[in-house]
Subunit: 520 residues, 2 copies
């Protein structure tokens, strides 16, 4: 069973911050992949997570069980039914709650500043209370491996307290990430000898660059639940990377972690979550990286052509990735044809020049466009390549002014001049920033001709600077997601000028919305 | 013994390319660290590596032995003394040569397209010839683990051929990176049972995210030489990462890999090699990453102040790294005080209101600022909270215009009006985008007063749209990284208007550069 904690422990990564909307999208993607559990957040620690759980009720998850995370009740005589943190856990109304508690005597006495006996009480009573409220309860034994090495008898006593309290399963945590695989194996074996019939899980961190191997060692030693995060996001060096653990478990150890056929969605999931987090995907990540099956050396490539398995440990298609030959950036006519089929655009006719579309995609990607996340823009290119294509409107001029004057605050204003059919429209609009002003002006110009625009709204707007080392002169890529009441579509623009990049993505967004989404 | 192959296998990484001068600098750094072997290149494969070995003779390496890498002589009756590749190995005039040969029957018959017997001959004869020329010879058994699983008897026969030829040691290679730690352990044990007195090494790749664990498993099973690369650079998912393996071996397994005291140079080496390779260092890398010992949550930080070991698996000073406190909305007063200490800003006086700074950080973070990646902006806030603080300049007005007119292309222009001391400066500048124009104008206005600005350049520019669901009206956060020839600093700005957000980050960048970085 895969237990994803991207939305809780993963967000501890320095530089990562997700909005509630981002978290909902990630939860949906994880459910589509088919993980068993999604830990959504720590409702006792911040209001954003409270809102997430409130809104998550409408997600309609198909497979995953949602978990809320929190700590045991307070030491020093505290009672679970009178504890704000425990109450927040219940208020999240999730089928699963995951409760973390102390294993290591050092942490009990120095951090929690209580007695060893009191720590056992709060573990037992917190869990018993949550069980009595009908929840599936997972207990996270914090610092388990360090705690076990310091005092094995006490570490086992905390597990006994958790099971006595009614824990449905216990995840053994290598919180500081310093354990070695053989230590994990040995300690998990020792624990299972004490609790032979109880279910255990594993939660590791990558501070020794062994988090994946540690998770696999625990699975081999009998842990049936594995915690981790997408792309290994997490505090310090990250949590155990599920994008490596899942294929290792399925393809190397022969376990089944995901519903049949879902492993092929892994690469797309890894990239989508990076995109949502606005972090560049790690090209060199095992299985899902863009370079994971890329072959550079001439000998390797020649050998690859003789025998595919000679330089690949697994078939990349099994994780939804593909092998690539570096140098020639040829991804091929096949990709474009299969995209056209997917969109229902008929390109198998004299009307369309597929090679020209491919050529254009390559030119634009070289300039910084990135069509992987902007399928509406690809579809528009395919449609524009048809001989009978007629544009909805043509841009003539635009002008954007941003000014800040002492005592007058900030002003952003845009003028837009367009041709629609035979008419020339010239409008001006304000906004709270230059792109917002441009967007408002564009809609103002077009709405009289295409009232459907009234039903559209911008659902997301992302900016990525390519080649950041060129500083403020670098190319900017803008991704825009637009929605009406039935669907969403994504478009892309790129330019060294962020206003132009935004303009290009906005125009595609509007054209797609009117000409494709509007009639679908 | 640590065998570094950054300069040979590491350069197979997609996007990594080193000049001869770069390679010489890396070799010098590796020698300073104290590795046992430096594999400098493949002189038979490219002229750059021939030049490297020629110039490396003058390096005067103190500890490391330099190795040239190449393949066995040609199959089909080829002789080593008449083989261009073998000749190139000798011409490199290194004390060590490393020769790679085939283990896996699939590769012998399908890639090399020869007989199993002929493969044994070329291994034996190539090594014997090189030994006769006075070299230390290391044999790399390519695809050893895959080959052993396919045909253990033949895999062992290739090792026998290498030892018969005079190999001083053999490195077992997991070339495709697909092996699991327990397989490595089992197979190394089986090999050592056959060759109990001969020395073995290990060479792994990270395609299953187990390269570090695989190297450690082999070391535990008796391999005395470990191959890898700095920062794990290498083809596909990279080679085994020496920056994790070395501290794991020294601090977790109790082996001695480097001369006494040299481990503390590891973090500096990792960053210097990234710098030379012009790759951004991975902040989240085990041991050497900037975030490897960073603490974010308020509870963690409070605990850290009570007991340093409670949330760290090793003391970061042992690898030349340091623990850091990340300042964010989750921070308490303790985080701000630790930061002030770190910056050397004296806040323990009546001059500074720490609570006001903390309050201001929280307000700004609520508006979308994000200080954990912008330490220079925090430092400026601490300095601004001192009563004797005087600003370097004051903004009066700015105006930015972006326009696109049919037939005239794109234009971006900025006007900036500032007060510097008693003077008012009013300038205009163009740029290839609005932010670039603003940056150019700001520098134009200030450089006459602060010529140090000439030494600054923008090293990175990142944009993040917060709460993307507000579309183009969402708050924009801009992070700017600036550098001069000795240091880098990061600043932040946020506003619904991207131009204003950029302006705020630019102003902090310039002020910090002149008032802090310039005098440090």
């Amino acid at each position: 069973m895969i237990y994803d904690t991207t939305l809780r422990d993963g967000t501890q990564r320095e530089g990562l911050s997700l909005t509630v909307q981002d978290k909902l999208r990630v939860a949906q993607l994880l459910d589509d992949l088919g993980v068993a559990y999604i830990e959504g957040g720590w409702p006792g620690s911040n209001p954003k997570d409270v809102e997430f759980f409130e809104r998550a009720k409408t997600l309609g998850l198909k497979r995953a069980r949602l978990a809320a995370f929190g700590a045991t009740c307070r030491a020093g005589g505290g009672k679970p039914d009178d504890d704000a943190n425990i109450r927040a856990l219940l208020d999240a109304e999730t089928p699963v709650v995951t409760v973390v508690g102390k294993t290591w005597t050092l942490h009990v006495t120095e951090v929690l500043q209580t007695t060893l006996e009191e720590n056992l009480r709060i573990i037992r009573e917190s869990l018993a209370y949550l069980k009595s409220r009908g929840r599936e309860v997972i207990y996270d034994a914090e610092h388990f491996f360090d705690g076990y090495r310091a005092d094995p008898a006490y570490a086992l006593a905390t597990l006994r307290a958790a099971f006595d309290g009614g824990a449905d399963s216990i995840s053994l945590c290598d919180t500081n990430g310093g354990a070695m695989p053989w230590q994990i194996e040995e300690i998990v074996n020792a624990v299972r000898a004490q609790f032979p019939t109880e279910p255990f899980g594993i939660h590791t961190h990558n501070d020794s660059e062994c988090a994946v191997a540690n998770s696999l060692a625990a699975a081999r030693a009998g842990c049936t639940l594995v915690q981790g995060t997408v792309n290994g996001y997490g505090e310090r060096c990250g949590n155990a990377n599920l994008c490596a653990i899942i294929p290792d478990l399925e393809l190397k150890l022969g376990f089944t972690c995901l519903p049949q056929g879902q492993l092929t969605r892994l690469t797309a999931l890894a990239h989508a979550v990076a995109e949502i987090a606005n972090l560049a995907p790690d090209d060199h990540m095992a299985y899902v990286g863009r370079s994971a099956f890329a072959h550079k050396g001439g000998i390797h490539v020649a050998a690859m052509r003789r025998n595919e398995t000679s330089y690949q440990h697994v078939d990349p298609a099994r994780v939804g990735n593909a092998s690539r030959v570096v140098v020639s950036e040829l991804s091929g006519r096949g990709n474009v044809l299969s995209k056209a089929e997917e969109f229902g655009v008929d390109v198998n006719n004299a009307n369309t020049d597929v090679s020209a579309v491919l050529q254009r995609i390559k030119e634009l990607e070289a300039q910084g466009f990135h069509f992987e996340s902007a399928e509406a823009s690809i579809e528009l290119m395919l449609r524009r390549a048809q001989k009978d294509y007629r544009p909805l409107f043509e841009m003539i001029d635009f002008l954007v002014v941003v000014e800040k004057r002492q005592g007058r605050g900030l002003l952003a204003e845009a003028n837009v001049k367009l041709r629609v059919g035979d008419e020339v429209v010239h409008v001006a609009a304000e906004g709270n920033g230059p792109v917002n002003a441009l967007d408002t002006a564009l809609r103002k110009a077009l709405t009289p001709f295409y009232p459907a625009l009234n039903a559209f709204h911008l659902a997301d707007y992302k900016v990525r600077i390519l080649d950041g080392s060129a500083g403020t002169a670098a190319t900017t890529r803008v991704l825009i997601e637009t929605a009406n009441h039935v669907q969403r579509w994504s478009t892309v623009g790129a330019s060294p000028n962020i206003i132009e990049a935004s303009w290009l993505a906005l125009c595609d967004s509007v054209e797609y919305g009117i000409s494709v989404a509007g009639v679908k």
